[in-house]
């Protein structure tokens, strides 16, 4: 139960920070330090059980059982060490922060630091890969926010750090998912113990690489090492806690956790040792180059982490023992060095060794403590750093395999350590040596120096109490390698190879320190041509630029390119499929006749002409030609009904389109050649695809059961022989009624839209008006023939339409076709009129629509006489003489259809054709009178009645009344 309590207390502490901060300001850190310290003591109290008796504390609550994720916590030796670091160093940093910051409130800082402690503690205690990943990401977020706290200049470093470590986190996520799917559980200890790592070497290698990638980004290994110095934009307590002592150790922790399974993978060994040593060496080299103490320490951290990675890569029990000791030693000396660097910085206002005077006299306590820390870092006896370095060298020499390999690895470590010695000296000498000067603000007070003193001195004390560490190291080795180990840490192991190597390190390091002027001269240049941050920024900019480029592809305001993308995708797919030569079944019978080709040619010509022409009117006419050709085709195929409908619809479409066209410029907007080319390509691709699809996909089935049913039973059940009409008014009358309503609504919408948007009141485009004086545009002279024809044809067409209506049930015709014929008659009358005002057909078209829908619906209600809505009734009316007239209520229904369609057509004709009236009231020139006596606007608003105001005499019509 102790483990959730640890996390819980910290969470409560996070929640309490605003209150603490309000009351205590920066001194809230003392309270938090107390909390951290107490918790550290609690964890410390588990030492006898965990380290002494070898127990493992566990805790479990289910979290997402469906995904098999639970809150598994576990405290073994490894977790114990890291938990102690998190809580112990945390307590000290909190105490240190109270003096580092100037007085004032620090809510964000304390809250985030405590939140980070929760995340880090959770990470090292988690025994569930998902929970571990969650905490891993939380540490990344906390780090991002804590760096960002330092103000505007820290933004880029914060983002860079976040993205890089976030990438590592995703690698971990990938590894976690792979492990979970393979093992069927998310419990880390089970996964590690039970997975068969030999079964699929490729898979194991992938997991190993992902884990390594995650660890390397988090622990700043080459080539990701640059983020750590970059992150130094954060305040010193943050750098101390996150970027020296704990967060960067998360990668180390991860590698230790996976050592039991990957420790004997050659790939693991090679990658870890190789990268670790390279990182250790270049980190130390860069550190030697720096003059900013903080940067120097950051590179030093990089270098030390490299050493840790390398020694974990060795993988033997001795190596892991050394890794454990060095993790502890590094945390202690690096924390104290960072904190002391912060002291120097705040007391002098700079941390550049070129600007710092010799502070030995001015800040004696700081100098002493820093020297102790630096000695530990350099590996000088009698300090813990020496012990751990000895252990590392010893383990490296004992690398299994050829002895020379071990020696070579150890020599690599020696090189890095030599440089470490040199920069340790450089740091202490740079800050405190040289001609004595005074600190700007004098020596720091005891409360400021308390925390660094504790860490620095514990490195000294522990070196003399090494047996205390033995159980910890043994347990850690047991956890990470599975072998029992008895370590005997000591300052003195007698004369052996590691001691000799240590001596070499100290000797060479001393030479470098002595020749520091020469060393500086050699190093005072750009060592590598590329810098990590620059590479990052370049990649970053590259992604942005690529995004802009892709974005530009779709960043058009015209919908045409959008559509082109969709169409090209589809058309391309279709053509690709066709090129794959799919098997197309043969047509059941020959389908092509010579006349078809004639029509195809006609349509092709017309379509090509439509595309080429610039004139809108010509385009409408040409589209009409295509429509007529198709109607002809229907006729040739025997579809008389269909042909008739198509023909009539074409006619009326052209008429209505012409009415609309009068409002538009005569020619299409000119389009650039490139645009036309592009559109042409899309059109051709789509056309070819559609043609191929039509050829391949149609006409290969027998008649559907529904069609067969209608053909067979229509006459018997409805008394009608025109199957199309019986479907419309008998079988599917409800559908027809619905469509009728839609049609009627369309008519009303035409009125509504033209009215409310005032489209009727706009001026005609200039281009049309410009021809106003042309005699060709004089409606009166022009329409003479039309008027003559219309006078005779109008009544004929009306009669014809009534005839078609009545006979529709049994022969081609019916309400819809009849209405179209009637509508054509009205259109003719309309077009023939010399002035729009005279052309008004004085029928209350909205009422016609309403009446049509009402009659159709009403005839449906009659159906209730026989049981259901819209059921047609049949009556045979005896005719004078012989025979009967077969009457059915379906005819009444058809009358409804007729009226509604007529109404809609009239609406379109009248509403689209009225604008000339409106303009007619503005005299065009001298002597031209307006034909309208009433204000057309008010008349439009009372819209549905016969227009009395325009009942003018034909003679009054201006000769130029219709010219616009």
């Amino acid at each position: 139960m102790i483990l959730p309590v640890l996390l819980g207390v910290l969470v409560v502490a996070v929640a309490a920070t605003p209150l603490l901060d309000r009351g205590l300001g920066r001194n809230a850190g003392w309270v938090l330090a107390g909390v951290f310290g107490t918790l550290a003591a609690v964890v410390g109290a588990q030492a006898p059980a965990v380290l002494g008796r070898g127990e493992t504390l566990e805790f479990f609550v289910p979290w997402m059982p469906t995904l098999d994720v639970g809150l598994h916590l576990r405290l073994d030796g490894t977790s114990w060490l890291f938990a102690m670091l998190v809580l112990g160093v945390g307590a000290l940093v909190m105490a240190y922060s109270t003096r580092y910051f100037p007085p004032g409130r620090r809510t964000g800082f304390y809250g985030l630091m405590t939140a980070f402690a929760v995340a880090m503690l959770g990470l090292v205690l988690a025994d569930d890969v998902v929970v571990m990943f969650v905490f891993w990401e939380l540490t990344t977020i906390c780090s991002f926010l804590l760096i960002g706290l330092s103000g505007e200049s820290a933004n880029r470093p914060a983002v860079r750090t976040f993205i890089l470590t976030g990438l590592g986190g995703l690698a971990l996520l990938a590894a976690v998912v792979m492990l979970m799917v393979n093992a069927g559980t998310s419990r880390l200890s089970t996964i590690l113990a039970e997975t068969d790592w030999q079964a699929s070497p490729g898979w194991s290698v992938a997991v190993a690489l992902l884990v390594i990638l995650a660890a390397f980004t988090k622990s700043a290994q080459f080539p990701f090492h640059y983020w750590l110095p970059d992150a130094m934009a954060a305040s010193t307590p943050v750098s101390t806690y996150l970027h020296a002592a704990t967060m960067v150790k998360a990668g180390i922790y991860l590698l230790m956790r996976f050592t039991p399974v990957f420790g004997d993978f050659p790939l693991w060994n090679v990658l870890l040792i190789g990268t670790g040593l390279v990182t250790a060496f270049i980190g130390a080299l860069f550190a030697l180059q720096r003059t900013d103490l903080k940067e120097l320490l950051a590179y030093s951290t990089v270098s030390q982490l490299g050493l840790l990675v390398a020694i974990i890569g060795v993988g033997t029990p001795y190596a892991l023992a050394a890794a454990g000791v060095h993790t502890l030693a590094h945390a202690l000396f690096k924390a104290s060095l960072f904190m002391l660097m912060g002291v120097v910085d705040t007391r002098n206002g700079t941390r550049d060794i070129r600007e710092l005077p010799g502070l030995w006299r001015a800040m004696p306590a700081t100098a002493t403590l820093m020297t102790i820390g630096a000695l530990s870092m350099a590996g000088i006896p009698p300090l813990l750093g020496f012990v751990s370095k000895e252990a590392i060298l010893d383990a490296m020499v004992g690398l299994p395999g050829e002895p020379w390999v071990g020696l070579l690895v150890a020599l690599g470590a020696v090189a890095a350590s030599t440089l470490t010695f040199a920069y340790s000296f450089r740091m202490v000498y740079g800050a405190f040596g040289g001609s004595p000067g005074t600190a700007k603000h004098g020596e720091a007070g005891p409360s400021y120096l308390l925390a660094p003193a504790v860490t620095a001195l514990s490195g000294l004390v522990l070196a003399f109490a090494l047996p205390v560490l033995d159980p910890l190291v043994d347990r850690l080795v047991l956890d990470t390698t599975g072998t029992a180990h008895e370590s005997h840490l000591a300052l003195w192991h007698g004369f052996n190879l590691p001691l000799l190597l240590s001596a070499i390190v100290i000797g060479l390091g001393a030479v470098l320190a002595w020749q520091r002027v020469a060393v500086d001269r050699v190093l005072d240049r750009q060592l590598v041509p590329v810098q990590g941050t620059q590479v990052f920024e370049a990649a970053y900019r590259g992604v942005i630029a690529a995004g802009v480029r892709i974005g530009r592809l779709t960043a058009s305001n015209a919908p045409a390119p959008y559509l082109a993308a969709i169409l090209l995708t589809l058309g391309g797919t279709a053509i690709a499929v066709t090129l794959g030569r799919p098997v197309v079944p043969a047509q059941p019978e020959p389908t092509t006749r010579p006349t078809d080709w004639l029509l195809v040619a006609l349509i092709l010509v017309a379509v090509t002409a439509v595309v080429i022409t610039r004139s809108r009117l010509a385009a409408v006419a040409l589209v009409g030609v295509v429509g007529f050709a198709v109607a002809l085709w229907f006729l040739l195929l025997g579809g008389f009904d269909l042909a008739l409908t198509q023909l009539l619809v074409e006619i009326l479409t052209v008429v209505v389109a012409v009415l609309v066209l009068r409002r538009l410029p005569r020619a299409f907007h000119p389009t650039p050649r490139a645009r036309r080319l592009g559109a042409g390509v899309v059109a051709v691709v789509m056309g070819v695809a559609a043609g191929l699809a039509a050829f391949a996909l149609t006409g290969r089935r027998e008649m559907s059961p529904a069609s067969e049913y209608f053909l067979r039973n229509a006459e018997e059940e409805t008394g009608g022989t025109n199957v199309v009409n019986t479907i419309l008014v008998d079988f599917r009358a409800l559908d027809t009624l619905g469509e009728l309503v839609v049609l009627g609504v369309t008519g009303l919408i035409i009125i509504g839209v033209l009215e409310s948007a005032r489209l009727n009141h706009g001026r005609l485009p200039e281009k049309v008006a410009g021809f106003a004086q042309n005699v060709v545009f004089s409606a009166r002279e022009n329409s003479l023939i039309m008027r003559t024809v219309a006078r005779g044809l109008g009544p004929v067409l009306t009669l014809l339409s009534l005839y078609l209506l009545l006979r529709g049930h049994s022969a081609p015709g019916g309400g819809f076709i009849a209405a179209l014929v009637g509508g054509a008659g009205f259109a003719l009358a309309y077009l023939a009129a010399p002035a729009a005002a005279r052309a008004r057909i004085r029928l209350p078209y909205p009422r016609l629509i309403a009446a049509g829908v009402a009659i159709a619906g009403g005839s449906g209600i009659l159906g209730y006489l026989e049981g259901s809505f819209l059921r047609p009734l049949h009556v045979d009316i005896p005719l004078p003489g012989d025979g009967y007239y077969h009457f059915t209520t379906a005819l009444i229904f058809d009358v409804g259809v007729y009226l509604a369609v007529i109404g809609v057509l009239l609406t379109a004709l009248n509403r689209l054709g009225t604008e000339d009236d409106i303009h007619a009231e503005e005299p065009l020139g001298p002597g031209v009178e307006s034909t309208d006596e009433d204000d057309p606007d008010s008349e439009d608003e009372t819209n549905d009645e016969i227009d009395e105001g325009t009942a003018a005499e034909p003679d009054l019509a201006s000769p130029k009344g219709g010219r616009r």
Binding site: G151, A174, T554, R700
Partner: protein, 527 residues
């Protein structure tokens, strides 16, 4: 007609949720026609909220029945009320309820998000008069109800015709609503027009595909088509072309690349509350329908059609993410992010495993909550006219206008941050649980490489979310933007919606299990 005609048995009880919503829409139209103007808004709002709440209750009441029987076939197979359908209807009603709160909200000065008279020509005198008279376009409520009703039928549709009708019922009101923004009217009308044009094409594709499938199977019922895939031979061309076209129609609705191009324009131009509603609910409905088609019809054709779907999935994730990075308008950024999310959800769809269904459903809810919440916040952040006592005008959608928002309005910015983190899939938010579930399902289905692409895309996606967070909290406002961007005070409904979104996002993130359990139970399609 014939005496042999037998009216189908209609299981009315199972249709209750849909009927409630559509019925409320019809009543809403009558309210528009007959109620005096004063009372319209309160009546409409009460009606809408009551209808959606009642629909949620109805779904809950139907739940145990569906759990026992696995579902009911209603209307002779036109509508299938099985687990996923019912779950989606419940989610849609819930998200609809939340969306209504945002839609109904007004600023302190009584302005809602919609044009006083949507049909007026922008900038005309007529519009000005309508504005001054304080007209309100309360038709919005029935329109949204109709759209919601269509969405609720969509995932339950058992045949292609019902599917098409539902598609139109949900689309047409949305086309209209997109053009009704109070501010930036031309942008809004442009959005509406583009949405309509491209949507009409997508509908045409869908219909063409449905016709081809009918030609193949001789039936529009999905179950029959599924049977025909294994029995009918020699007409694979019809089947494949038909399915591709039907899928194109659906992919258009979810905004998958390359059928996504309408998304940014429409999301940007539409009134922000509608954008939130549309982004969350349309996606929910369309993915529901797609799941049904993919899981019921597709399996025998896995080898033929999977490459297409996988390709779409990959480029959707990549394009959505990459292009989102470079956006400077917050609504466009969220639009591209929604495209990327469509890709992530597709990962779950193409998994073709049982867990794929439940994970997609979970993801959709998590995404929906965060989306409505995020757009609700966008609707509150406004520009202020320059000069002393400047009037609060349109939404401040340029990213730079958001800088420093976190310093001045920490709670609002905090909520936005939470939604962004959920989009990014950061642990302890609903988005993480969803992403995790979807990716796990895909790995179950043997698509590890797809998950790798997905993970990389999410990594890049994290970038632009984080950039916005940095902007809000760590960047000082540019110039005098301190005055030029403000958070408008509203009547409070939006705050409730945002609160619900925050609660849901956290609750689903911390305790996803109960819902995941329920979904796992429910995730079985009946043919």
């Amino acid at each position: 007609m014939t005496a042999a005609f037998v009216a189908p048995e209609i299981a009315w009880a199972q249709l209750t949720p849909v009927l409630l919503v559509l019925g409320a829409g019809v009543i809403g139209v009558l309210v528009e026609a007959f109620a005096p103007q004063r009372v319209r808004r309160p009546v409409q709002l009460a009606l809408s909220l009551a209808a959606t709440a009642a629909a949620i209750v109805a779904v809950a009441a139907l739940w145990s029945g569906v759990r026992e029987t696995g579902g009911t076939v209603v209307l002779d197979g036109s509508i299938i009320l099985d687990g996923p359908a019912l779950v989606l209807q419940g989610m849609l009603a819930l998200l609809g309820l939340v969306a209504f709160l945002v839609i109904a909200d007004r600023t302190e000065s009584g302005e809602d998000a919609f044009a006083p008279s949507a049909s007026a020509v922008p900038g005309s005198d007529y519009e000005e008069v309508a504005r001054r008279k304080g007209l309100e376009q309360t038709e919005v409520y029935p329109l949204v109800l109709f759209a919601l009703g269509g969405m609720m039928i969509f995932p339950a549709a058992g045949d292609l015709l019902t599917l098409f009708v539902a598609l139109e019922v949900l689309s047409l009101p949305l086309y209209l609503l997109s053009g009704m923004a109070r501010r930036r009217r031309l942008l809004s009308q442009e959005a509406s027009m583009k949405y309509f044009l491209l949507g009409a094409f997508a509908s045409a594709f869908f219909l063409f595909g449905a016709a081809l499938l009918y030609g193949f199977a001789g039936s529009v019922r999905l179950a029959d088509i599924a049977v025909a895939t294994t029995t009918v031979v020699g007409m694979d061309g019809l089947l494949l072309a038909g399915l591709v076209l039907v899928l194109v129609g659906l992919l258009f609705k979810v905004g998958a690349v390359p059928f996504h191009s309408w998304t940014p324009d429409v999301y940007q131009g539409a009134p922000t509350p509608i954008t939130g509603f549309m982004a969350a609910c349309t996606k929910l409905a369309a993915f529901g329908a797609m799941l049904r088609i993919v899981y019921v019809v597709l399996p025998p054709l896995e080898w033929d059609l999977m490459p297409l779907l996988l390709g779409v999935t990959v480029i959707t994730m990549v394009v959505g993410t990459v292009v989102a990075i470079v956006q400077t308008d917050i609504k466009r950024m969220l639009a591209y992010s929604s495209i990327a999310h469509a890709g992530f959800i597709l990962v779950g769809v193409v998994a073709l495993t049982q867990s794929g269904i439940s994970s997609v459903l979970f993801y959709l809810l998590a995404y929906g909550l965060a989306t409505i919440g995020a757009f609700a916040i966008v609707s509150l952040v406004r520009e202020v006219n320059a000069g002393p006592g400047g009037a609060v005008v349109a939404e401040a959608t340029h990213l730079s206008q958001w800088s420093g928002l976190g310093q001045r309005h920490p709670v609002l910015a905090g909520a936005f941050t939470l939604f962004l983190l959920s989009f990014a899939g950061i642990p302890l938010t609903a988005g993480f649980a969803g992403k995790f579930a979807v990716f796990a399902a895909a790995i179950d289905g043997g698509l590890a490489w797809l998950v790798v692409v997905g993970v990389v895309a999410s990594a890049a996606a994290v970038f632009f979310y984080v950039r916005l967070i940095v902007l809000m909290f760590f960047t000082d406002p540019i110039g005098t933007a301190g005055e030029s961007t403000t958070v408008v005070r509203s009547e409070g409904l939006t705050t409730v919606a945002i609160g619900l979104g925050v609660l849901g996002t956290i609750a689903l993130g911390v305790f996803p299990s109960p819902l995941l359990d329920v979904l796992a139970d429910a995730a079985v399609f009946i043919p």
